[in-house]
Subunit: 189 residues, 2 copies
DNA sequence: TTGCGCGGAGAACGATCGTTCTCTACTGTA
DNA sequence: TACAGTAGAGAACGATCGTTCTCCGCGCAA
């Protein structure tokens, strides 16, 4: 038998892929069982309900996102460059063939009205991203008001890329971010 | 009996409110029937399927959105101001108690993977908005590259406001738009 | 070898959904 | 009054979903 940790990971990874590709409600637990290779009984011993599995998947997505962001930031030497790597990271993501928008935004649109657990997980992720941007903005010595503006650019790029089906939004958002950074630098001195 | 036009309007209006408040998949046709006061048989004589009703609702939302945007723009005298009224319009919308994000983004996240008709309607609306912004940018004599940047700000403000539950994003996006407009004017001379 | 406990496969259950069908009541005409 | 046509109310149908239950087979102690 597979040990509990591996089984958990298999279920979350399979559910993540299916939920992201088809939407949460369009994927039945049977499909998760088949994809994960873990029996339904086992799944329900690991997660009390589908709702709990959804939240676990969102937490897993948060880690993936954070790691991707941190990995992209490593290539930068200055705080300003580190901010711009956010949009380079988005650009690479948008070009992945199975890109289908931000899983958190999608989950919120689909379940936000009915599941407060989902709303909480999504809100926590977005707030963490806001704080990440705020740290970078502070490191760059830019005014704090710049942070939510950059975060809004990143959010808008994600929905625009998802709906349009092209990765152009990353480039546009990056250009806007540069303009905002330049303007902030000009004001500062 | 209600005439066909009124029945159609009643169904679309009822479905729009329910879909927006609870999500499309969470609302059954029975609930639409009850809210619209139109029998199921009649609904299915007006719309071949739920999918067709969803698309009709999205078209109705497009008109509402266009009218709201045009109404806000009327108050402006210059092209630059007309661009900024977009964010004033968003601000007012975000403050409505039943605001729950952009219906098109929500519908795309929920059904975009399974219904190409929904994807098409959503994509058409977003493209129309992009073109609207592009016209205003041209009227303002700003470089065309500014248009997608402003549109991305508007999209990002909508998702940020929906998830955070506060209307602050409209103010932040407006400030960013002003900076971008100023920078474009500075370059132009 | 025998008995036991546990896990896998998937059938079963109750609820709900989109869609269709049945039955009844009403309208207008001769 | 008798009749044809239509629309409303909601029951019915088949499918699907989340969740639970049953049955079977395998590994291990004595």
């Amino acid at each position: 038998m597979i040990d509990e940790k591996t089984a958990r990971e298999n279920v979350i990874r399979a559910a993540d892929e299916l939920f992201y590709a088809h939407g949460v409600q369009a994927v039945g637990m049977d499909a998760v069982r088949t994809a994960a290779g873990v029996s339904l009984k086992r799944i329900y011993s690991l997660f009390a309900s589908k709702d709990e599995l959804i939240v676990a998947v969102l937490h897993h997505r948060t880690e993936t996102w954070d790691n991707g962001l941190a990995g992209a930031a490593e290539r930068a030497t200055t705080a300003r460059e580190r901010i711009l790597t956010i949009f380079d990271f988005l650009d690479g993501w948008f070009r992945e063939p199975d890109f289908r928008g931000c899983a958190f935004i999608n989950a919120h649109g689909e379940l936000g009205a009915s599941s407060s657990a989902v709303t909480g997980a999504v809100r926590a992720q977005k707030q963490a991203f806001q704080e990440y941007v705020a740290r970078l903005v502070a490191d760059a010595g830019a005014p704090p008001a710049l942070a939510p503006q950059l975060a809004i650019l990143a959010e808008g790029a994600q929905t625009t890329a998802a709906i349009s089906g092209t990765p152009d939004a990353a480039r546009h958002a990056r250009a806007a971010a540069e303009t905002l950074l330049d303007a902030a630098a000009r004001v500062r001195g």
